[in-house]
Amino acid sequence: MSTEAKFSGDSVIVGGGMAGLSLAIALHKAGLRVAVVDAAPLDSAMTSEFDGRASALAYTSWRMLDSIGVAEHLAPHAQRIEDILVVDGRPNDGLRPGGPGRDSLHFDRREIHSGEDGEPLGWMAENRWTRVALARTAEACGLSVFAPAKVDSMSRQGARARVHLDDGSWLEGAVVIACDGKFSRLREQAGIRTTGREYGQKALVATVAHALPHEGVAYEFFMPAGPFAILPLPDNRSSLVWTEKAAAADALRDMGPAGFQEALEARFGDFLGALTPEGPRWTYPLGLKMSERFIDDRLALVGDAARAIHPIAGQGFNLGLRDAAALADCLVEAKRAGLDLGSPAVLEGYERWRKGDSALLGIGTDFFNLLFSNDHASVRAMRGFGLGLVDKIAPARRFFMRQAGGETGDLPGLLKGEALSL
């Protein structure tokens, strides 16, 4: 057993996922001494077998990735979202790009960011490419990464916190940041409870190539069993997020190619021409899980460790990045002022900043899921009316686009595209 820390600095970040690495890179580039620990080597996360999902990146999230140097690695694999079309009902009810049917809502980024190269509403990227871009950036900037390394527990020694690895060694800093996901071990060990519920739904995730170009349009169809989203990827491909009751989603995942092709065509319609499914299919259970606290003694929770929400609005990763941006702001400001980074005065500032936003989005997506995963005639009529109404009011459209872009509340500097420094 060693008697000296493997790493001693400002902060130890547990979990090298997308939120954890983004935060680590932001802090490192601002001049803080940080280390990342992850159970898997960083490059193992790069195959599509590891994570088949794609994520929508709100434009404020992209600004952050741009300011920390990740966007340049990701851009060749990311697709601009120029338009979002929200449609109630079946996708094959005569829908065409540019000619949506009734009860639909069209968001056009040119209404908030004009010009040929105006900022898009967001970007779509497959998670594996986001992980590659993060890993490359981390390597290029000399970030300390300890992976593979298994975290056992954390302890406090005066003004220092230690992260103990299962081989008996440890890393220490003024604050430990748990980015270890929905089932966060550090959160559990700190005795922070979670509340939430399972929706009984699963999202089937698959990639589909199509004959016709999507032209950067993202479609969200609200179906009785849950939303069905067609999200544009590079090279005439789209990422499907197909929500069904859990058993139905699993059945879709396990179908043979011919069966799935038939089910897909029935649901998707033919407005993008002939469809060719690509790669494996995945299902992810949908649920809402919210931590009662985001902080503990010398510990801060970030991303899914803090809360996991329904992916209906594509905000999960964006929320993680918003946590990361807010915490980076708090820690860099504290470092600049010479404050103790793990002190309650600093961490409570982070919690206050983030908790309101998360609760609102959690409840909001919960409500939307109930509203839209519903086939009662009266509910259908009401939401159809609401969609049509918003579609006719330009300020309302711009408001929702900015909301979806993450441009709400008191924005941390990174989400405005500003770089942090001491």
């Binding site: 005066g158 600049r336 002022a337 010479g338 404050l339 002190s343 309650p344 005065a345 001491l422």
Partner: protein, 256 residues
Amino acid sequence: MAAGPAPQTLSTPSIDPEEVAKFAAMAEQWWDPNSQFAPLHKFNPARLVYIRETLCDHFGRSGPDPLAGLSLLDIGCGGGLVSEPMARLGASVTGVDAGEANIKTALVHSREAGLDIDFRHGTAEQLLESGGPGQFDVVLNLEVVEHVANPQDFLRDCAAMVKPGGMMIVGTINRTARAFATAIFGAEYVMGWLPRGTHRFNKLVRPQEVREALQAEGFSVRSPVGVSYNPLKDRFFISGDAGVNYLLAAEKPAST
């Protein structure tokens, strides 16, 4: 590291004894951001960043340990809310406070934090008379001048402890009707942020009075900045409005 037994002669030249007792009674909870010191913890980051930036500018410093190698005296250091951050930024810090409970709290807490700070129980004048640590590159004079018996004499004594080429930063509350309304009536009676009687209006000191006292000692005095409160964000920030809380930096000429 410790100052040894406190100078018992609290018939100090610059602090009214009843005011010392008032602050010593508050000492225990200095470091709890949810205690009655909450406003001080909210107030602290804005002024710390101002101090850092002003010193970096004056001494031509930057980076993670910008105050390395500078000696710094924190007068009226209380529980060490400024002394500790200054030590973390690299300064060799001496903190003096006339309240015994304050200095003990500060000492215990700084040791836990792994910081080596020279805390002394006493007043600025006693430190000057003792001739002990001599002069400092930086003298911080925060929220003290409004509590001393004679601000002019006090500022003159503090000025004597600044090295030639060094800097003094004074932070206090202006003597304006608005300061009375917010910093005294508002903070003590409406918000309950500070115990009633913490500040007395006629003891408050205007920027011009600080400026004149320091100019008389040969300092060149910068324009004061305000520390203002944004109720929407529940944060303090540095502003151009010195009408209530203000900070004022003054440079001592390199050779007099």
